[in-house]
């Protein structure tokens, strides 16, 4: 009993393992660009980029260090004159379509785009048929 209590106490006192570096976030991670048009373009892109270490979140929503560094990368590239789609293509070339929440139409993603249309068509068919029956 005493031992368990002691163990529980030790757990309370244990320091959490650190999985983050001791460097502060990159300046551009949380600082808006001076040019509002460029900042808007960067923000639009950041909302569609996947955080690679927290895969359900966009980099604009994540406080992970890597997401911060990725925001800095997006801002720096857009400030240097690249367009949003150019930065997105640069990242897709390195990580594949997976890095983007706005995947382009391809053989693999076609069902994603076409399935809703097919389901709508089926729904419309069922609806029109059942309405016809009622008329009779």
């Amino acid at each position: 009993m005493m031992r368990r209590l002691l163990l529980a106490l030790m757990l309370l006192l244990a320091a959490p393992a650190l999985a983050d570096s001791s460097l502060p976030p990159a300046p551009d991670a949380n600082r808006q660009l001076a040019d509002p048009a460029k900042e808007a373009e960067a923000k639009k892109l950041m909302e569609t980029l996947r955080c690679l270490v927290c895969q359900g979140q966009a980099i604009s929503d994540s406080d992970a260090e890597m997401a911060g560094d990725m925001r800095a990368l997006v801002r720096q590239r857009i400030a240097a004159g690249e367009s949003g789609p150019q930065v997105r293509d640069w990242l897709i070339k390195r990580y594949g379509d997976y890095v983007s929440y706005d995947p382009p139409m391809s053989q693999i993603t076609a069902p994603l785009w076409l399935a809703p249309l097919a389901l709508l068509a089926i729904g419309a068919l069922i609806a029109s048929r059942s309405f016809k029956r009622k008329k009779r």
Partner: protein, 175 residues
């Protein structure tokens, strides 16, 4: 015919349940791999971070021999587990270079003193810029760069003792 149709929803339900259950027992592989395998190493030049050890540039690769590019950090726990394996690879004749992600000189020196220093060169990447250029999504990760400077192989996560033959085979193939 109509009676058979009545069973359609339950069959549909069982189908979906089976797909979900299989996902529970065999989760999908969420590893993000670099899309650059087979392509030329992107150009970069990183400054040194540890005194007495040169920095790292893309021009250090592709000089007629394969090299192992290890993306690591002193604040990364699996990197500590990986360190003795890297030393083993070095003893087996593998040339290893490091990219230190978001690191400080003091922390890195401490890390190398504790865990050994198998690196010929170490470049400092304080904003993970080169990590993104490589298509790497975490620490540690290792890339085999072939004799002509192309990315031949990627290993995501720490290299375990059981991975050594795979890495050595990839190095041999990259000659």
């Amino acid at each position: 015919m109509k009676r058979a149709l009545l069973f359609l929803p339950i069959i549909f339900f069982i189908g979906i349940a089976a797909v979900l259950a299989s996902g529970l027992f065999k989760p999908a592989d969420r590893t993000v791999r670099s899309a650059l395998i087979g392509q030329q190493l992107p150009a970069f030049a990183l400054p040194a971070i540890v005194p007495g050890q040169p920095g790292l540039a893309s021009t250090d690769f592709g000089k007629g021999e394969p090299r192992l590019l290890n993306v690591f950090a002193s604040w990364c726990a699996p990197c500590i587990a990986e360190a003795p394996i890297l030393t083993r690879l070095k003893d087996a004749g593998v040339k290893i270079d490091g990219v230190a992600i978001r690191d400080t000189e003091a922390a890195l020196q401490n890390f190398l003193a504790r865990n050994g220093n198998p690196f010929e060169r170490i470049g400092s990447d304080p904003q993970s810029t080169i990590q993104f250029a490589l298509g790497s999504s975490g620490v540690p990760e290792s890339f085999v760069i072939d004799a002509r400077g192309r990315i031949a192989h990627q290993h995501v996560g720490d290299i375990k003792a059981s991975d050594v033959p795979v890495i050595l085979a990839a190095i041999e193939k990259a000659r």
